[in-house]
């Protein structure tokens, strides 16, 4: 009996190595600064991780399908700037759908290039990273966008509002994670995403329309980016053109940290959420501990490596490589 319990725990560890790593960080930071483990602080971290998190949800689809999306940072800047600009021109009711439509067009373009033309996603989205940034700058003329009347609009609810005491960005993040988690895990489309990423050729021969699946993954990603842009815009009611710059790598780090394979075919929404939270808590924890920022950069890297190592070690049941 004891043996089987041990095996069960072993299996659990193997499945949830990243969760254990997560728990260890929480304990570590709490010892370093007890204020880390307060409800207020947790809410802060989840709320400020929500923007990155929402973007990571979409990128999870793209990564599982065996592709990359490095354009999400620029695209988020674009969505934010566009919705802020249109807010004052068209009013929020029209500005939000217009921004979503424009962002989805960008996603569709990438999806077409990567899915139907079968171009390398790294090249396409790396190119789009600069192209969309250029588009944003052309659109805004380089100016910061600010909503003129910050008090007299309901636009603030997406970033600053709360429902039953829970802040809206958190609710949006949770709701979208639940929805996309179900789509990925429980629907035929979700299965196809894994199939395409796991073995594209086999998927094609099984009758899966590979191009269409990849295309839809980028649409998912653009949808998430537009949502993130909406939260961002509503949260600060104004923005620089560079607001999302560099986020693409953080998003990718969160997705990979969650255990999705860069080669495609594996990963889950739940684990991506954990990956996002780990990144958020590391940043917040290091600030609370109060290390010098230059040290923080290095420590962040060490913690990420530690998390990935624990995850892999748990999967193979050994701390070091089993192959001597």
């Amino acid at each position: 009996m004891a043996e089987s319990t041990k095996q069960d725990i072993g299996k659990l560890l193997a499945k949830q190595g990243i969760l254990i790593a997560f728990a260890l960080f929480i304990i570590g930071f709490t010892i370093a600064n007890p204020k880390f483990l307060t409800l207020d602080n947790f809410e802060n971290v989840v709320r400020s991780s929500a923007i990155l998190g929402v973007m990571a949800l979409g990128v999870t689809f793209v990564v599982i399908s065996g592709n990359l999306d490095l354009s999400v940072g620029s695209m988020m800047s674009f969505s934010t700037i566009v919705v802020l600009d249109l807010h004052d021109k068209l009013g929020p009711t029209l500005a939000i759908p217009a921004m979503f439509a424009m962002t989805l067009c960008l996603g569709a373009l990438i999806g077409f290039l990567v899915g139907y033309l079968k171009l390398n996603s790294l090249i396409v989205t790396l190119g789009m990273l600069s192209a969309i940034h250029g588009l944003t700058l052309t659109y805004s003329g380089g100016k910061n966008m600010d909503i003129a009347d910050k008090e007299g609009t309901w636009f603030a609810i997406f970033g600053q509002g709360n429902i039953l005491g829970i802040q809206t960005p958190i609710l949006i993040f949770i709701a979208l994670a639940a929805l996309l988690g179900i789509i990925l895990a429980k629907t035929p489309f979700g299965r196809k995403v894994y199939a395409v990423g796991g073995n594209g050729t086999a998927a094609t021969f099984s009758g899966i329309r590979r191009a269409r699946v990849v295309f839809l993954c980028y649409i998912m990603s653009a949808l998430c980016v537009a949502t993130a842009g909406l939260i961002q815009a509503s949260r600060s009611m104004g923005s620089q053109n560079t607001v999302g710059q560099g986020l693409e790598l953080e998003v990718l780090a969160a997705v990979i940290l969650g255990g999705a394979s860069l080669l495609g075919g594996s990963g889950t929404i739940f684990k991506t959420v954990i990956g996002v939270l780990i990144l958020g808590f590391i940043q917040n924890g290091l600030l609370l501990v109060g290390l010098d920022f230059s040290v923080q950069y290095v420590v962040t890297w060490i913690i990420i490596i530690l998390a990935v190592w624990l995850d892999i070690a748990a999967k193979r049941g050994k701390l070091m490589s089993p192959i001597a």
Binding site: K143, S236, V243
Partner: protein, 318 residues
């Protein structure tokens, strides 16, 4: 935008040829800018520069933009040398990499004015004058604004300050932080700076940093941010957390900072106008060509702005 620059360049070149034949006193000044269009400051700077040049009948300008690209800026420097302009103004894309190009202009006998952000010290022998804001003074003035406010509130002996800096490694960020950190203990020796972290010139990042500060410290009386964009991010964090009575001081007064000052939630900043910056650069070049002696570091004034005197200043356009 682009078209206009090309137009400006062609008309200026044409004008130069004509000028060479006709009036001897017309001077041609070339400028290669860092990255117009990337932010409102640089966009406004370019407009003001062109406007100031147009207002002066003795001056023709060749206006170029490096688009943030060092290689392109070096090529533009070489073009301007080739065109034999009378003076070159450069807004460096990179303080180190442009030195050889600046040296080349110097050797060709063309005086070089560095604008806004200075190049590295190794290039100083080839530069005629630097025209721009004095970031150390800006930091020091922010410290004075903060201290004066604490005195007015009667908390100059116990106040605690947190400091949000710009992007690590940037000269502007380093100099402002140094100015503030050196000056604050001189004017308010009992005020304690309890933490300092970078906000990367980013409003969202600054807001997150401030949220962590608010969790970490129960008592914060003042926040100094390296620019108003970050300052407003920090202020939003405090408002969201319901923490009142904090004095927010920034630098480079942005429109959002000006509005927050008008609303009474943000205390003060440093007024740095891209229009003054552009006009000062052009004036420096003209003065040089007129044979005037200029100090090597030719700063333009960036005054203090607070809720008390903001009526004296127009709202920034960026």
């Amino acid at each position: 935008m682009k078209l206009r620059r090309i137009l400006a360049a062609t008309t200026a070149t044409a004008a130069m040829t004509v000028a060479g034949m006709a009036a001897a006193e017309t001077m041609t000044i070339g400028i290669t800018q860092n990255n117009v269009g990337v932010d409102s400051y640089q966009t406004t700077y370019e407009k003001a520069f062109i406007a100031a040049a147009e207002a002066n009948a003795d001056v023709e300008v060749v206006v170029l933009d490096a688009g943030g690209d060092v290689a392109r800026q070096i090529a533009q420097m070489e073009d301007l040398i080739q065109q034999e302009v009378d003076a070159i103004i450069i807004w460096p894309t990179n303080g180190e990499a442009v030195i050889p190009a600046v040296r080349k202009a110097h050797q060709a006998g063309i005086p070089v004015v560095v604008t806004n952000s200075n190049i590295a010290e190794a290039g100083f022998p080839f530069v005629s004058t630097f025209s721009g804001p004095d970031n150390i003074t800006q930091g020091a003035r922010s410290a004075e604004i903060m201290c004066d406010r604490f005195k007015a509130l009667g908390i100059e002996n116990e106040a605690k300050v947190v400091h949000i800096t710009g992007q690590p490694g940037y000269t502007t960020a380093i100099e402002r932080a140094k100015g503030f950190n050196d000056r604050l203990p001189e004017v308010c020796p009992n005020v304690e700076q309890i933490d300092e972290q970078p906000g990367d010139w980013n409003r969202e990042k600054s807001q997150q940093v401030m949220e962590a500060f608010l969790v970490k410290y129960d008592d914060i009386d003042g926040v100094y941010s390296g620019d108003d964009n970050m300052g407003v991010g920090a202020m939003n964090a405090a408002i969201a957390a319901g923490r009142e009575g904090i004095t927010f001081v920034g630098a480079t007064n942005f429109a959002v900072g000006y509005e927050a000052m008008a609303a009474g939630t943000y205390w003060g900043s440093i007024y740095q106008s891209p229009v003054d910056d552009a006009e000062a650069a052009l004036k420096s070049a003209i003065d040089l060509l007129n044979g005037e002696e200029l100090p090597f570091l030719n700063y333009f004034d960036t005054p203090k702005i607070t809720q008390d005197n903001m009526g004296d200043f127009t709202k920034p356009v960026f």
